[in-house]
């Protein structure tokens, strides 16, 4: 018998637990000739801001051992262009569209969310809490429980859509941040966003990124993501969790589910293996079948 891959994250229902992570799948359409978008659990778009953003000066990316640093600077076309030009075409695939929302102020998060909740076709919003906060000298929203709660609460009042808070790992204790997000109205929590890092080029004796500091992603961050997920799982057993960080095989995804993730996101691996998400969907089904489980839920959180 085919195992049941469907999962529920509060009001958000997915045909399978495998999404593609924000910023690693463009707006979705970029992959349509390579990946069957209708077989994904959900598509999380590139982060959108109120106005178009040009992004940072290159170099913006650097390869590191089993990972990469990026400092793209939220280059995007702005929420209005997305709603007008991209969303209608993306909806044709029948896959839930989760829009990643970014902002430099609490008000910007809320305004972007408000515009997205006025149109059809958006299944949920994911708050990118790793954005630099203008009012606090560029500090990430996600490093403070108060700022996290403020951003989530502002978006909560602006929309009725399911709300996912994507947490930053660049904190001492992630639990109060997750609690702050949930108390402010987040329906689910995804973790983790990228880990802060730098890389240096001995040849040029300069930073490899023009903005010096960037976000580390890829296989190198998987244990960090799993650690944070495991801790939040223990503190918030009722909250749907989405595991993201370094997944590059079905086994990696299953590990997150065993630790308590309701769903997972494939991120950096999309760059090097565009069809990985579909492979992970099949791999999870196969794992359940071989081991005699009827559903994804049957293995969720059994490692704690």
């Amino acid at each position: 018998m085919m195992p049941d891959l469907s999962v529920n994250l509060g009001e958000l229902q997915l045909r399978n637990p495998v999404m593609v992570a924000a910023g690693t799948f463009g707006y979705g359409l970029e992959y349509q000739d390579i990946v069957d978008l209708s077989r994904l659990g959900a598509i999380v778009t590139k982060s959108l801001t109120l106005a178009p953003r040009m992004g940072n000066t290159p170099p913006r990316v650097a390869e590191t051992p089993a990972g990469m640093l990026n400092a793209i600077g939220l280059q995007n076309d702005g929420v209005d262009a997305f709603i007008l030009e991209t969303l209608p075409r993306l909806c044709e695939y029948g896959t839930p569209i989760i829009v990643s929302v970014a902002g430099e102020t609490v008000g910007e998060y809320a305004q972007v969310a408000e515009r997205l909740s006025r149109v059809d076709g958006v299944a949920a919003l994911e708050l990118n809490l790793s954005c630099p906060n203008q009012a606090r000298g560029g500090m990430e929203f996600g490093v403070s429980p108060e700022l996290t709660a403020q951003a989530v609460a502002a978006v909560r009042t602006a929309t009725d859509l399911p709300l996912i808070a994507k947490l930053s790992p660049n904190v001492g204790d992630i639990v109060p941040i997750a609690q702050g997000a949930v108390q402010a109205g987040a329906t689910a929590v995804s973790l983790i966003n990228t880990v802060l890092g730098v890389a240096v080029d001995p040849k040029t004796r300069q930073f490899r990124l023009a903005s010096k500091c960037g976000g580390l992603s890829g296989p190198a961050v998987k244990p960090i993501a799993q650690y944070h997920l495991w801790r939040v799982r223990q503190a918030l057993p009722e909250t749907p969790l989405i595991g993201v960080g370094g997944i590059s095989s079905a086994e990696d995804a299953i590990e997150f589910i065993l630790l308590g993730a309701h769903a997972v996101q494939i991120g950096t691996a999309n760059y090097v293996q565009p069809t990985l998400a579909l492979e992970v969907v099949e791999g999870i089904a196969q794992y359940l079948q071989v081991n005699g489980f009827e559903s994804v839920e049957a293995i969720r959180g059994v490692v704690y």
């Binding site: 390579i34 290159p58 170099p59 760059y271 090097v272």
Partner: protein, 267 residues
């Protein structure tokens, strides 16, 4: 533009110079649709380190045989993995990708400026351009490298009937100095010229400036760190002038790698 994600089969590693190899891959859809200036992303093995695929310009393509090739030298963990791929094994490949060189038909002389590792796409371009020339058109190759043994494709360029001028940093062959000096000289000759260039970005900046100062049409193939090649990561950003007088970032992997010189913001 159609692109393919497929396992290409290794046909041969052909030695082409000192630590310089031509990797011939069998992948008919790519071989049949590749245009000079375009590239492929290669991944020899599913490794975590190296993680990224690497972009390789297409050196030649034979649609009838379904093969295309790229040029590599062994100088990193990635290229070592590539060099160890046995004949008959597969290399996961995405391509053909990006923009391509577009022949400017009004020209009397097509000047192809190749610097170091920038030669492969111009070899492909010359091979496709030569058979289409009218009796009034000619090809001039200007190729530069650090040393003589790093020069690529000189015999092939000559076999196409092109004139070839060479510069090496150490003077081991041809002019001792930069290939851009040869270009400055060539642009002073009384012929309607158009320039197509590929090489290090600092060389391309000089090429672009020389051409723009003389009103010579110029297309450059730019290099940028490229994690995805698909157009999603925005890592390979190239700053370009916009029609409204502003600037924006385009992607070397989709809108590039070949840009018109005047479109690029040369910083």
């Amino acid at each position: 533009m159609t692109r393919y994600e497929l396992p290409a089969v290794v046909v041969e590693h052909q030695r082409r110079g000192t630590n310089l190899y031509e990797l011939i891959l069998h992948a008919p859809p790519i071989a049949q649709s590749a245009t000079p200036g375009q590239f492929v992303m290669l991944r020899p093995l599913r490794t975590h380190a190296p993680l990224w695929r690497r972009p390789y310009s297409i050196l030649r393509a034979n649609p009838d045989k379904g093969v295309f090739s790229v040029l590599y030298s062994v100088q990193s963990a990635f290229t070592e993995l590539l060099s160890l791929k046995p004949i008959g094994s597969t290399v996961q490949t995405l391509g053909p990708l990006g923009s391509y060189f577009q022949p400017v038909r009004a020209a009397q002389r097509h000047i192809l400026v190749a610097g170091g590792v920038g030669a492969p796409p111009l070899c492909f371009f010359a091979a496709r351009l030569a058979p289409t020339l009218t009796p009034d058109e000619q090809i001039l190759i200007l190729e530069g490298a650090r040393r003589e043994d790093l020069l690529v494709g000189l015999d092939e360029f000559r076999a196409l009937g092109a004139e070839v001028r060479v510069a090496t940093d150490d003077g081991s062959r041809g002019y001792k100095g930069y290939v851009t000096d040869l270009l400055a000289e060539a642009l002073n000759e009384p012929l309607e010229s158009v320039v197509y260039a590929c090489g290090p970005n600092r060389m391309l900046r000089v090429v672009a400036q020389l051409c723009m100062a003389r009103g010579v049409p110029c297309q450059v193939s730019l290099d940028a760190p490229m994690p995805c090649g698909i157009g999603v990561c925005l890592g390979c950003a190239v700053k370009v002038n916009t029609p409204d007088g502003g600037a924006w970032y385009k992607r070397a992997c989709v809108e590039g790698p070949v840009f018109r010189a005047e479109e690029v913001v040369w910083e």
